[in-house]
Each structure stands twice: as structure tokens, then as C-alpha cells.
């Protein structure tokens, strides 16, 4: 009996010992998908553009160099920006080709953002979204941005020239958005879900602009930079319209994604004062007539306080009136623009479905048509 157990134990140990020996002798092929981190080129930002021949141009941006010279704009060693560009018929093919352009494995597991050029966005985003969603390295919550009027490659190249990393800058922009509410986050997963549902979605837009000081010739290098510039409206996988940067906070407010903002208003004497607006809530409700929606009420509550102003700027609570007027006008403008575009990117249908789950259901599908002829009342209240 003892011998049996010893034999069985030995039998179990032999394969284990062989396996460990194989590992220890560096038999890498026995190890499934063995990859060392220093074999990777971590890509932090990807630019996608429409190429002249109808294909897709990819621009990869990262911090560290290490590609062969044939791989395009290979950077110096150190922490200099790495930029690699290539085009092919599809995004997947372009990525595949790029593997041979570098001595490292292109790794998209650390990609934070995909920047999409306007031309590609107007032609259609489906293939890009499909690639992002099916690639097992790319995180589904990767951020999407539309580059307004320019190509994504151009933006990444400008950022690279300025020794700036697009991904870092965009991350900082995301944080700023919590303070200014002038942009938002759009993940590939959200956009794909919205497109699947046949709805519309907003993707933050970026624009290249001259950096202050460049015109005066302070430095040759720092010419252009990029900033958030409202939203791109995506409908049926295509870019259909833009929302101006000025309206972006109010669009965010109507979408329920307004956090904080500082606005400048005029006080009673005509001097500028800064107001800090926070704790904003919006609500949608419908009034019904003969069982059909007759009026849409938009309610907004907010809290405001004076950030900076001269003493004795006006009567008590003047800043609340000023802020309320500003919000009412902005919300009206943003809502009208949404109605005109015929795309429910503000999510009113979803909000009303929550508010009137049974009565609203029959109107859900044709809501885009109904809303265009609906009377709208906006009520703005300040919180104490």
C-alpha cells in the first residue's frame, strides 16, 4: 500500500518537475503568449484619419521611442514622444502592418484615447468602433475625440512637436471638465451602445489653435495646441453637426452632466463679476392634453455664489438672477439646436421614459418628430 502511494506521488511529481524545468530553462514557446514588458511599445493615443485613397491612416503616439527608422517618425531614446504613422485599407490592416515597422509589439492595452479626424468621422465611424470593440487589448472604455477641421495625425504631430503627450493633455482636460463642464467623456463602449440603439451621441471635439505667444515669435516650436471645442454630434455612425464650445456647458446641463462652472456676468454697475455655479439639477416633465404630450417642461435648479466681484455690486441676490438668466438663455439655445438637428443627443426621451414610464411609451419611437413641434417651458430656480 505504501509503495502504491509513493508510486502515485512520484507519478504526480514527474510531470510537475518537467513543467517547471521547461519553464526554468527558458522554454518560452511552452508558455502561452509569453511577453515581456520591455518588448512592448505602449501606445497612449491613436489617431485615425481618412486617407486620400479611401483607406485609413493610423497615427500612434507614445512616450518612448525605439522603432526602426523605416517606421516613420521614430523618436530619440529617452522620454521623447514616439510617433508612428501608416495607412492601409482598414484600421485592422494598418495595425497589422505597423507591427512590422517597429522592433516592438504595438500594445494598445494602455491606449487612453482614440482621436478621429473629421473626414473619417463624416464618412462613418462604424469600422473604427468595430475595431476598438473587438480588439482584445483595447479597453472598451477608451475615450473618443473628434478632431475638428483637421486630421487626428496632424494634432498628434503638433502635440509631439511641442514635446507634449496628447494622452496626458486629454487626461488633464477630462479633469478640467469637472470644473468647467465645457466638455465631457465619451467612451467607445458608450458610443457603440448609443449607435446600436439607433440614437445619437456626442463626442467631445478638439480643435487646433495657435498657442499664445507663438504669433509674436517667442518660440518656433510652440505654434499650435489643441483645446476642447464643444461636441461632435454623431448619428447613425456619422458626424452630422457640431455644438459650439459656448453651448457645451448647457448641453452638459441638459444631459445631466453639469458639475461646476465659473461664468462671468455684469453686475448692476456694469462691472464684471465671476460666479461659481454648482449643484445643478435638471428635470424633464411633460404636460398632457387629450392623452398626448402638449408641453415639455424643463426645470433647472442651481446654486451660485460670487467668486470675485467688487463690494456693493448690487442688491442682495443679484447674482442669482444673473446666473438664472444666463442658464435660461443657454439652455434655450442648446435645446433649440438639439431640436433643429432632429437628434435626441440630450437624452430627453430616456429621461421622460423614466418620468412617465407608461404614458410616454407610445411616443418613444417617434419622439424626434414630436419634440420638434412641442411647446417648451424652461424654469430656472436658484437654491438657497
Amino acid at each position: 500500500m505504501k509503495r502504491f502511494f509513493y508510486t502515485r506521488r512520484a507519478a504526480a511529481l514527474v510531470p510537475a518537475a518537467v513543467f517547471l524545468a521547461a519553464l526554468c530553462c527558458g522554454c518560452g514557446k511552452l508558455i502561452p503568449s509569453a511577453r515581456e514588458i520591455n518588448d512592448f511599445q505602449l501606445i497612449t493615443a491613436v489617431g485615425m484619419d481618412r486617407h486620400e485613397d479611401g483607406g485609413v491612416t493610423l497615427t500612434l503616439s507614445s512616450k518612448k521611442g525605439g522603432t526602426s527608422a523605416s517606421g516613420g517618425a521614430a523618436a530619440d531614446a529617452g522620454s521623447a514622444p514616439f510617433l508612428l504613422s501608416h495607412h492601409a485599407a482598414t484600421a485592422a490592416l494598418a495595425f497589422q502592418d505597423m507591427e512590422s515597422l517597429t522592433d516592438k509589439h504595438i500594445f494598445l492595452g494602455h491606449t487612453r484615447c482614440f482621436l478621429i479626424g473629421e473626414s473619417l468621422a463624416r464618412d462613418g465611424l462604424r469600422s473604427c468602433l468595430d475595431y476598438i470593440m473587438r480588439d482584445m487589448d483595447v479597453r472598451p472604455d477608451v475615450r473618443l475625440y473628434i478632431v475638428k477641421s483637421r486630421s487626428a495625425g496632424e494634432l498628434l504631430a503638433e502635440a509631439s512637436d511641442n514635446e507634449e503627450f496628447a494622452a496626458d493633455r486629454l487626461k488633464s482636460m477630462e479633469l478640467d471638465a469637472r470644473r468647467a463642464s465645457n466638455t465631457d467623456i465619451a467612451s467607445a463602449l458608450d458610443i457603440a451602445a448609443a449607435m446600436e440603439g439607433g440614437g445619437a451621441a456626442l463626442i467631445p471635439a478638439l480643435t487646433l489653435k495657435a498657442r499664445e505667444g507663438a504669433a509674436s515669435g517667442d518660440t518656433d516650436k510652440r505654434r499650435l495646441t489643441f483645446d476642447p471645442d464643444g461636441f461632435a454630434v454623431i448619428r447613425e455612425h456619422r458626424l452630422t453637426d457640431y455644438i459650439d464650445a459656448a453651448d457645451a456647458p448647457f448641453v452638459n446641463l441638459l444631459r445631466g452632466r453639469f458639475y461646476n462652472a465659473v461664468v462671468e456676468v455684469e453686475d448692476a454697475r456694469g462691472a464684471a463679476a465671476a460666479l461659481h455655479i454648482s449643484r445643478v439639477k435638471r428635470s424633464y416633465s411633460l404636460e398632457w392634453e387629450n392623452g398626448a404630450p402638449s408641453r415639455l417642461n424643463i426645470g433647472v435648479t442651481f446654486h451660485s455664489e460670487i467668486g470675485q466681484s467688487r463690494p456693493e455690486s448690487g442688491h442682495e441676490g443679484w447674482h442669482k438672477y444673473a446666473a438664472a438668466r444666463l442658464i435660461r438663455d443657454g439652455v434655450g439655445r442648446a435645446f433649440d439646436a438639439a431640436r433643429e438637428s432632429g437628434a435626441d443627443y440630450l437624452g430627453t426621451a430616456a429621461a421622460l421614459d423614466m418620468r412617465h414610464p407608461f404614458r410616454f411609451a407610445p411616443y418613444r419611437d417617434g419622439w424626434d418628430d414630436i419634440i420638434s413641434g412641442l411647446e417648451v417651458e424652461i424654469r430656472v430656480c436658484s437654491k438657497e
Binding site: 527558458g26 511552452l30 512592448f40 492595452g109
Partner: protein, 490 residues
């Protein structure tokens, strides 16, 4: 079992005559005897030189003997000595040669007279022994400075001084065919679980070994689970800590020749307790205890975790950190697994070298090894600085363990987890951790679960294991010890 035939087994039962004693210790240079003629009777004193006090033998045994008058027969003379002629504080009548020899080996003087069929042994211990001093491995700032020494009787006295309770019991037995080492089992009658006492006594009495000279010779044989690297008994050089264990309801074991006191059962949570925990504020002690658990986790899993991330799950490393690791590892030709396992091996070698060498040289070797060789290896691109940092953090975290045996067990498992993580990444690490948990849940120490009090959801888990609750709230003794008296304070 191999039959045991002790030398001169046949003569051990014979009457202790002078000739037989001389024959038994023939060719032993330290064997000494003194022949006297007391009133016509041939009296011989036998002893082992070096084990007895010469002064005591001369003043308290030989001198009274020489002053005594003739008693007629040798038996009458021995009876007179038994009745108090000799001033020895401890005298025993021995009827066999074996008993006489055992007493002599324990530091007694045997006295035979003429052809008397029995003899007397007088305790006259006087062998060299170091004084009670502060234990090197467990010194604390606020606490007693007396540690165990190699003398069993001194150690029992130290315990008795801490626990002045007449119910404190010392059961003594000898272990080792060759060494005849005295082992003392310590417990408090009426408090300690009698089943636990019986279990410890039974295991000690059943020990049939050649020698008991080292700690593991007892630990390994007495422990329940032979196939584990984890210590199953609590060991301390401190008399106060040992007394704490005994007064909590554990059974203590003291071994002659070892300056260590053992306590059973040993549990994982108690192994992570340090003597300072009860000599400093409970809040600080709780924080430090939690820190110890965290360090244990770091020491156990950090190399495996690092290897998993670097070789298998690069996507979950924060981007900035990943870029730093890539930059550090850029020109290192070795695979990550080799780097980590190699550095772990180097760390173990340094530890071993430091221990084997005299203390000042050992420290030099550690510093040279860690700083100079480590720095040179990084500069020569043999290993990446990240791996050096990981292994250094692992090593330092491992040193926070209050018990060196536990630390050694963690080192064994650390390597096992790293080997598992090399091919399988975090899955391997998880498999290893589950395996370790399975293993630990199966370990028992003298019938008590090794993971007690974690094995059940009880207040003990928080108040005794993870934190050190204020002492006034610890009104009950450890449940797992099944003590007869459950309360330790009103």
C-alpha cells in the same frame, strides 16, 4: 522500528557496586572517583568532573563523611548518610546501576560503601553556565530583560518567578537515547485544558530518538502536520512571553540545553504577535499588527505579483509605471522570471552567508552583497532596478515578521508562488494563494486549527488577531484553547 540496544543494557539493572560503576565509565577521562576508608568501611565517591561543584563535594560530602564514626556494616553507614550525616540538600537512594549512572550524568555524586547492594546519590551540580541575560532576538524597550538560558532548572525558576501560582506544574521527562535530555512540560492546573496537557505529555513520552540537541528535533516530531513549512509551536527566548503563553492556557515545553521555551498550540495569529504588543498602547499595537499582516502579504506575494504584471498582465499596470518599468528593463537580456527568481535566490544566498559568518563579517557581507553587487548588477544590466526594488521590499517586509520560523515558511511559499506566477500570471498567483489557504486550513496544532481565530467568525478575530483590543475588554481567554477557566479578569 529498529530494536534499541543501549550500551551495557544488561548491567543497568544490577546493584550499583563500585566495580560496576568503574566499568561502566571506563575510558571516560572526565569520570572521577575518591576512595575513603570510614571506620574500616571502603567508601567510594563517584562523579563526573565538570558536572559537579568541587567545593560542594569537598565541604558538604567528603568532610562530613570523614568526620563520621564507624557504623559497623556498609549498609548502616549508608543509612547514616541517608539520615543526615552528609549535608547534601538532595539525596536519593539508588538500587540499580542505571539509575545511579543517570544521576551522575545529571550532576550528582554517587556514594557506595563496601559491598552494599545500593548506593546514595547527592545532587552537587556545578557545571559552567552563562548568566541570565537579555535575549538577542526578542529584545524590547519596555519589558523584562531576562531570557532563557541553557540550564533547565534556571529556566523553570524564571517561569516560577513570573507565575507565582502553586498550581503551576512542571512535568519532567528525559528524551534522547544518547543525550538523555531533560524536558519539562509546564502548565497551570485548573486552567489549562487537561486533554492538551495529556497530548503534549504523551507525545514527549512517545519520543524515541537518539539525541535532542536542536530545536527542530523536538518541533518536527511533536507537531501534528509533518508536511508543512509553518511552525506549529510558539517559541520564545523571553521568560515573560513564555509565562504569558502558559498563563493564557497553553502548555509550555522547556528543554535542557536550549535557551528557548515552546508553547503549544501555536496558531498563525499568535505567531504574528510581537512581545511589544503588550508593552505599548493598544492603538499603536493594533496599527503595527495590521502593518505586520500587510508586510506578510507583501513578502509573500510581491515578487509573484510583479512577475505576473510584467510578463502576463501588462495592461493593468498604470501607464506611467509601465513606462518606467520598460525604461528600467530596456537593456536587460534576461527574462522577467529569471530576473526575479535569480534575485530571490541571491537574496537567500546573502541571508545564508550572513548567518554562517561571524556577526560583524556577516553584516559586511550583507551590505556588500546588497549594495555593491546589487548596484553593479543593475549597472551591468543583469537585472533591472525595478526587480531590485521589488526584491528589497519583499525582503524588508519579510523581516517584520516577529517569528523567524514563520518568516522562513513565507520565504518557501514566496518562491512557490513566484514559480507559479511565471507561466500563469495572476491565475497562477491565485491558484497558489488558494493552495496555501487550503494547506493552512488543514494544519492543526495539538487539535487546534492553525488559522484560529480566523477559522470562525468570532470576536476573537478582531480583538486578538487583527487588532490588539484594550486589555480591559479582553475578559475571556482564547476560545480555541478550551481552558477550564474561561475568564481572565472580572
Amino acid at each position: 522500528m529498529i530494536p534499541y540496544h543501549p550500551p551495557d543494557a544488561g548491567s543497568r539493572g544490577e546493584a550499583p557496586g563500585a566495580g560496576l560503576i568503574k566499568d561502566m565509565f571506563r575510558d571516560a577521562a572526565d569520570f572521577a572517583y575518591r576512595e575513603l576508608n570510614i571506620g574500616g568501611a571502603a567508601v567510594t565517591l563517584f562523579y563526573i568532573d565538570g558536572l559537579v561543584s568541587s567545593q560542594f563535594v569537598a565541604d558538604e560530602i567528603i568532610k562530613p563523611l570523614c568526620l563520621t564514626e564507624s557504623r559497623g556494616s556498609p549498609e548502616a553507614l549508608l543509612s547514616a548518610l541517608w539520615d543526615g550525616v552528609v549535608f547534601g540538600h538532595s539525596v536519593k537512594r539508588r538500587d540499580t546501576l542505571g539509575e545511579t549512572a543517570d544521576d551522575m550524568l545529571a550532576g550528582s555524586v554517587a556514594v557506595t560503601a563496601g559491598g552494599a547492594p545500593w548506593c546514595l546519590t547527592f545532587e552537587a551540580k556545578g557545571f559552567p553556565s552563562r548568566g541570565v541575560s537579555e535575549p538577542g532576538g526578542e529584545s524590547i524597550f519596555k519589558g523584562a530583560k531576562d531570557g532563557f538560558i541553557e540550564n533547565l532548572r534556571t529556566n523553570t525558576a524564571l517561569v516560577r518567578r513570573k507565575i507565582k501560582n502553586p498550581a503551576l506544574r512542571f512535568f519532567e521527562t528525559t528524551v534522547g537515547r544518547q543525550t538523555q535530555t531533560a524536558v519539562s512540560v509546564v502548565w497551570i492546573e485548573g486552567l489549562t485544558d487537561p486533554a492538551l496537557v495529556d497530548s503534549v505529555r504523551g507525545r514527549l513520552e512517545a519520543l524515541d530518538i537518539d539525541a535532542l540537541l536542536y530545536a527542530s528535533q523536538l518541533e518536527e516530531r511533536v507537531a501534528d502536520n509533518k508536511w508543512t513549512a509553518f511552525p506549529q509551536m510558539l517559541a520564545s527566548e523571553r521568560a515573560d512571553r513564555f509565562a504569558h503563553y502558559v498563563s493564557a492556557g497553553r502548555v509550555g515545553i522547556l528543554i535542557d540545553g536550549l535557551p528557548i521555551g515552546y508553547a503549544a498550540p501555536g496558531t498563525f495569529a499568535e505567531l504574528l504577535r510581537a512581545p511589544e504588543d503588550y508593552s505599548q498602547n493598544y492603538l499603536m499595537a493594533s496599527v503595527v499588527t495590521l502593518l505586520r499582516y500587510a508586510c506578510l502579504l507583501i513578502s509573500l506575494t510581491l515578487p509573484a505579483f510583479y512577475l505576473s504584471l510584467v510578463c502576463r498582465h501588462q495592461e493593468i499596470i498604470p501607464t506611467a509605471l509601465a513606462q518606467s518599468i520598460i525604461a528600467a528593463k530596456q537593456d536587460v537580456p534576461l527574462m522577467g522570471a529569471f530576473e526575479v527568481l535569480g534575485m530571490l535566490a541571491a537574496f537567500e544566498i546573502l541571508l545564508e552567508a550572513g548567518m554562517r559568518l561571524p556577526k560583524p563579517i556577516g553584516q559586511t557581507v550583507s551590505i556588500v552583497g546588497a549594495l555593491v553587487v546589487g548596484q553593479a548588477a543593475v549597472e551591468a544590466k543583469f537585472v533591472s532596478p525595478a526587480v531590485v526594488i521589488v526584491i528589497a521590499m519583499t525582503g524588508i517586509a519579510g523581516f517584520t515578521s516577529p517569528n523567524q520560523d514563520l518568516s522562513a515558511a513565507i520565504r518557501v511559499w514566496r518562491i512557490a508562488l513566484t514559480v507559479l506566477a511565471a507561466p500563469l500570471g495572476l491565475f497562477g498567483l491565485c491558484i497558489g494563494c488558494v493552495w496555501l489557504l487550503f494547506h493552512l486550513t488543514g494544519v492543526e496544532s495539538f487539535g487546534v486549527s492553525y488559522l484560529s481565530p480566523f477559522e470562525r467568525s468570532s470576536r476573537d478575530t478582531l480583538t486578538r488577531a487583527l487588532f490588539r483590543a484594550p486589555l480591559r475588554l479582553n475578559r475571556f481567554r482564547e476560545r480555541a484553547l478550551n481552558t477550564l477557566n474561561k475568564r481572565n479578569q472580572p
